[in-house]
């Protein structure tokens, strides 16, 4: 994976992992699909994209046993 360009601004950054979660750097709060605020308690959080996590909105690696995120196509 390529590193972000040097000199990129600090602030929130989101990296979507193929068949995995979105890694979110620099977020304070993540709002789930019910509008509930979840405080980001670590510098990088993994937000679930497959919907199968047992601790939404955070990823708990369930996508690995479920065979990955549903395809976009």
């Amino acid at each position: 994976m390529s590193a972000p360009a040097s000199g990129s601004r600090t602030g929130c950054q989101i990296t979507v992992v193929p068949d995995g979660p979105a890694l979110v750097r620099g977020a304070d709060v993540v709002y789930d699909d019910q509008g509930v605020a979840h405080e980001a308690e670590r510098p990088v959080v993994a937000v679930c994209l497959c919907g199968l996590s047992q601790r939404l909105p955070w990823c708990d690696a369930t996508h690995k046993v479920a065979g990955g995120r549903p395809s976009k196509t």
Binding site: M1, S2, A3, V17, G20, P21, L23, R42, P43, V44, V45, A46, Q54, R55, W58, C59, D60, A61, K64, V65
Partner: protein, 329 residues
């Protein structure tokens, strides 16, 4: 921490040397794996926290380093032979991340996390905590040796991962401190190295592999491959450790430790595999085999520990040297 009790002629001679007795000039043939791995563990520990009864200057004693090198050669040669089956899991995979994922999902015959989830007694769970204490009380320290040996994106990503391991700026969230609280809550001794005399070579070997990879620059790829496999196998295992702790009512601090690692390691596995190992393989492609060797060593040694533990527990025995935990609680 004081020096451990010897387990054979080599560790006995090493303890004697470290405490000012007769000089040990070569390792010779250790009396089996316990003697070898305990000796290697003592020599590595000189680089971490040392021993109360050993002069700190012995860390760089050339004679001890020569003995360590002999033991490392023997350990490395054995590991290279033993990781073949796990390494073969990566044969069909196309890219490095898929190879690491294939290695990390290699399944041995025995699973400690499944056993703890559904079958273990509270006493067996505490034995697991004791075995793990050797590493978790210095959690992430062995991988930190790699920082000055990396550059660019791999270095940045390792620092990012370790910032989280080391508490994210908050001493009370240092992962080793979270584990210490879990031990205390389970009625166990949380002081560093307290249980080394109770832990068999299988667990010592797990710890020695991390030190071997961490302390040698030539193994920087293996150190990071090891880290990736460790993190990739962690979230799902930690979920089972957590469920086992809840079933056995091991207490809030034990639950919190594993709960924390489900989310943390779901992040760390992506950082370790894609960004650390991926960037390292891009800048130093000749390290790919080393990365895979490190990952396979992690998974293989985990299986060695698991087989030993499950065999002991299903036979109604203890995984610890010297019997069950009733006397150590």
């Amino acid at each position: 921490m004081k020096l451990p009790r010897p387990r054979g002629k080599l560790s006995e001679a090493l303890v004697a040397d470290l405490t000012g007795g007769r000089a040990l000039d070569h390792a010779g043939d250790p009396d089996g794996p316990d003697d070898l791995h305990l000796s290697l563990w003592m020599l590595y520990e000189l680089h971490y926290r040392g021993f109360e009864d050993v002069d700190d200057r012995r860390e760089w004693d050339p004679r001890l380093l020569a003995v360590r090198a002999e033991l490392e050669t023997s350990f490395e040669d054995g590991l290279r032979e033993d990781v073949g089956e796990v390494l073969a899991a990566a044969d069909e995979a196309e890219d490095l991340v898929s190879q690491l994922a294939a290695i990390a999902s290699h399944e041995g015959e025995a699973s400690v996390s499944q056993f703890l989830h559904r079958r273990a007694t509270a006493a067996q769970y505490r034995e697991f905590l004791i075995e793990r204490s050797l590493y978790h009380l210095k959690e992430s320290d062995p991988h930190a040796w790699a920082v000055p040996r990396l550059d660019g994106a791999a270095k940045v990503a390792l620092a990012e991962l370790q910032y989280d391991e080391f508490g994210g700026g908050r001493p009370d969230r240092l992962h080793s401190a979270l584990f210490a609280r879990a031990l205390e809550e389970a009625g166990l001794d949380a002081s560093y190295g307290a249980y080394v005399d109770r832990v068999s070579w299988h667990t010592l070997a797990v710890n020695n592999a991390m030190s071997l990879f961490g302390l040698h620059r030539r193994f920087r790829g293996s150190a990071m491959g090891h880290l990736a496999a460790f993190e990739m196998t962690s979230p799902l295992a930690c979920r089972r450790y957590l469920q086992g702790a809840q079933r056995l009512e091991m207490g809030a601090a034990v639950e919190h430790y594993f709960d924390e690692h489900i989310e943390a390691d779901a992040v760390h596995e992506e950082i370790a595999a894609r960004t650390i190992c991926g960037s390292l393989a891009e800048t130093e492609p000749e390290l790919v085999d080393d990365i895979l060797f490190g990952a396979a060593a992690c998974v293989h040694l985990d299986e060695v520990v698991a087989r030993h533990a499950i065999d002991a527990w299903t036979a109604g025995g203890s995984v610890l040297l010297g019997g069950d935990t009733s006397e150590v609680a």
